[in-house]
């Protein structure tokens, strides 16, 4: 057992630090400015050899163990650089379910950042109850025609492609009538509407209206009716702190807050320090378990719940230290409220833990 870097990990960390020393301050780390230049940041990371570390070599990754992603996250936070763009769940989703042809066509551009993606899952009437979605894809020759309304679509305004869930068989039982598609965002029949969040951010989330947009039948991910399984793979990985790369940012924010404190730190801040350290160590334990080939299903819900508690305790620490009149820290507090909703609400995570891990028959 060793929590320290192996020689290979230490060498990678040193190489990364050298590169990052030149990057600090070049890219904005939060707010709309971050989202506006996220694509550029993604490509800078990739071309320096520091993105897509744990993904398959044949698609542009490096086939390294996932611990290298965590080293990257830690060093990005320490260096004052923006976080690693969160794409792991889409890479895993396509990797598990899409044909080789689709993987070869789409994964390299997703990983190197030359093509940007969004995820069209949630709808105004289908949030936690995702299987009630009503967006339809109707076969028309070699194509499907899409009608419907998606919401909470991250990065929809800059996306080139959308991984879309739509109902292809209205007569099938509701979980089995859904299929997943790779839809071009550059076409008539798609309308974007930005959503302004309570943090004031306007560039992260959008609504997307599909009115006759088209997608070739060959761009279905998996078989007809397999959309629900695709969605479960994606959201399962969307819940893992190690995939998301957020864990290292909490410790960093705690240290920044601590520097502003004059006198004894507020209890909220000390508790946030304990919680963020817990998450850092928890991610290490989970990654180590993956070395045994344990792939995380419902355990992701435990991790998401822990991450949410950490995120929101850091938000409370920000309030305790700076009050509500510091614009940036208020933004990070407001953003923390979304953590218990995005990627499945905390209530949904608790349902999953109760039914699948504890066997309570919820």
């Amino acid at each position: 057992m060793d929590f320290r870097d192996s020689p290979e990990e230490a060498a990678f960390r040193a190489r990364l630090r050298t590169w990052l020393a030149d990057q600090a301050g070049k890219f904005p780390t939060s707010g709309d400015e971050y989202w506006a230049r996220q694509g550029e940041w993604h490509q800078a990371l990739y071309s320096a050899g520091f993105f897509g570390l744990s993904w398959p070599k044949k698609y542009g990754g490096q086939d390294l163990p996932p611990v290298f992603d965590v080293i990257l996250d830690e060093e990005l936070a320490v260096a004052g650089c923006p976080p690693r763009p969160s794409l792991g769940y889409l890479v895993v989703g396509l990797g598990h379910h899409a044909s080789d042809e689709l993987c070869e066509r789409f994964l390299p551009g997703m990983i190197d950042g030359t093509e940007r993606w969004c995820q069209g899952f949630s709808e105004p009437g289908a949030g936690s109850d995702l299987a009630s979605l009503t967006t339809t894809a109707t076969r028309d020759g070699d194509e499907y025609v899409i009608h419907g309304h998606k919401v909470w679509t991250s990065y929809s305004d800059v996306a080139d492609w959308c991984l879309l869930l739509a109902r292809t068989d209205p007569d099938a039982p509701r979980h089995r009538g859904i299929s997943a598609f790779i839809v071009s965002m550059h076409q008539d029949g798609i309308e974007q509407r930005p959503l302004k969040m309570i943090s004031g951010v306007t560039k992260e989330f959008g609504q997307v209206l599909f009115d006759g947009a088209r997608v070739p039948a060959s761009r279905m991910v998996g078989a007809p009716g397999e959309g629900w399984r695709v969605a479960m793979t994606v959201v399962g990985h969307e819940r893992e702190p190690s995939t998301l790369g957020f864990a290292a940012r909490y410790g960093k924010l705690v240290r920044q807050l601590a520097k502003r404190v004059d006198g004894p730190p507020p209890q909220d801040l000390a508790w946030a320090a304990v919680q963020s350290e817990m998450l850092r160590l928890h991610v290490r334990r989970r990654l180590s378990e993956q070395l045994d080939g344990v792939s995380h299903g419902s355990e992701g819900s435990l991790d998401k719940l822990l991450m949410t508690w950490v995120d929101q305790s850091v938000g409370h620490a920000a309030l305790a230290v700076a009050g509500s009149r510091d614009e940036e820290l208020l933004g990070s507090y407001m953003y923390s409220r979304a953590q218990s909703v995005m990627g499945g609400t905390s209530q949904i995570q608790k349902n999953i833990i109760a039914s699948r891990i504890l066997g309570l028959g919820v």
Binding site: W271, A273, V274, L358
Partner: protein, 301 residues
């Protein structure tokens, strides 16, 4: 980085778990079963786990046994003897089974006549006196008179590592107690019915138990690191890791045990329900060498 338990550590965990499952207190009436407790005492003594440190074991291995003994409500001394052995080993090859002094009291003194005392860095021994009050029904306090035998002085490093190990063993007990209390509560929620359904099928109950499960997972992770840190990091960092673990596991254990009592409803508030035995043990392990939020390093050093 690889923080998995080794094969040998997994075997130690399985052996400790089996011993605790076979002979620990499974019900409140078990606590009064002198024959069971005598068998437990004989078995624990025969494992040699009370002298893990003088046998060269790491903090991780001590924590593994302490966690399983907390989970299985082992009600013969382990905490006291294993920590006393950690101090005693620096002065003698002979390893007597002793209680450990906590402030003015001897702790984990059941059936023992000597207590090891650490004051500043001086290690001495004293005679165990009369039973003293305490919430724990599985481990007991006693008075002791002034030390009558001085063993010697610890180096600063050994004293700090001993302090880190002491905190870690309290954390391990808290994690074990949390797991034990949660297991009983989850089982009960699957059989107790109200309004025609098991109470665990209602979100109000299920979500509390789900939160407990997440707290236990976080607790396991902080404990793993702190136990490893005892021998592998600088003494200062080992203590820092142990304090983080103590704050987290103590908060988690109280919530988990209180939830376990609540899930049992009226039964949970009766003496015969085992959950208060876990809760009492958790309160005791929290108060043994307590850590406050004011002691937490905010990472600026």
């Amino acid at each position: 980085m690889d923080v998995r338990l080794t094969i040998e550590q997994q075997q130690l965990r399985d052996a400790a778990a089996k011993l605790a499952d076979d002979l620990g207190a499974r019900s409140v009436s078990d606590l009064d079963d002198a024959a069971r407790r005598a068998r437990l005492e004989k078995t624990v003594a025969s494992t040699g786990w009370r002298s893990l440190r003088s046998d060269g074991a790491s903090g991780v291995e001590v924590a593994i046994v302490a966690e399983e003994f907390g989970r299985g409500l082992v009600d013969v001394p382990f905490f006291g003897p294993v920590l006393a052995d950690d101090l005693h080993r620096h002065f003698s090859d002979d390893q007597p089974t002793c209680a450990i002094a906590v402030g003015a009291d001897a702790f984990d003194a059941h059936g023992l006549d000597r207590v090891l005392v650490l004051r500043d860095r001086t290690v001495s021994t004293a005679a165990v006196g009369e039973p003293a009050p305490g919430a724990d029904l599985t481990r007991s306090f006693a008075t002791f008179v002034e030390p009558d035998e001085t063993l010697g002085e610890l180096s600063a490093e050994n004293a700090d590592r001993a302090h880190a190990l002491t905190l870690v063993v309290t954390c391990a007990d808290l994690v074990g107690v949390s797991r034990g209390a949660q297991a009983v509560a989850v089982d009960y929620a699957k059989i107790r019915e109200q309004y025609g359904n098991t109470i665990g099928s209602y979100q109000a109950v299920a979500h509390m138990l789900a939160e407990s499960e997440a707290l236990i997972e976080g607790s396991i992770s902080v404990l793993r690191h702190a136990a490893w840190a005892v021998d592998e990091l600088t003494p200062e960092d080992a203590i820092r890791a142990a304090r983080i673990a103590k704050i987290y596991t103590a908060r988690a254990a109280r919530t988990v045990c209180e939830t376990a009592v609540q899930v049992h409803g009226g039964i949970g508030n009766t003496w015969e329900c085992i959950e208060h035995v876990y809760l009492r043990r958790a309160l005791t392990s929290t108060e043994l060498f307590p850590v406050s939020l004011e002691e937490i390093d905010l990472g600026l050093s």
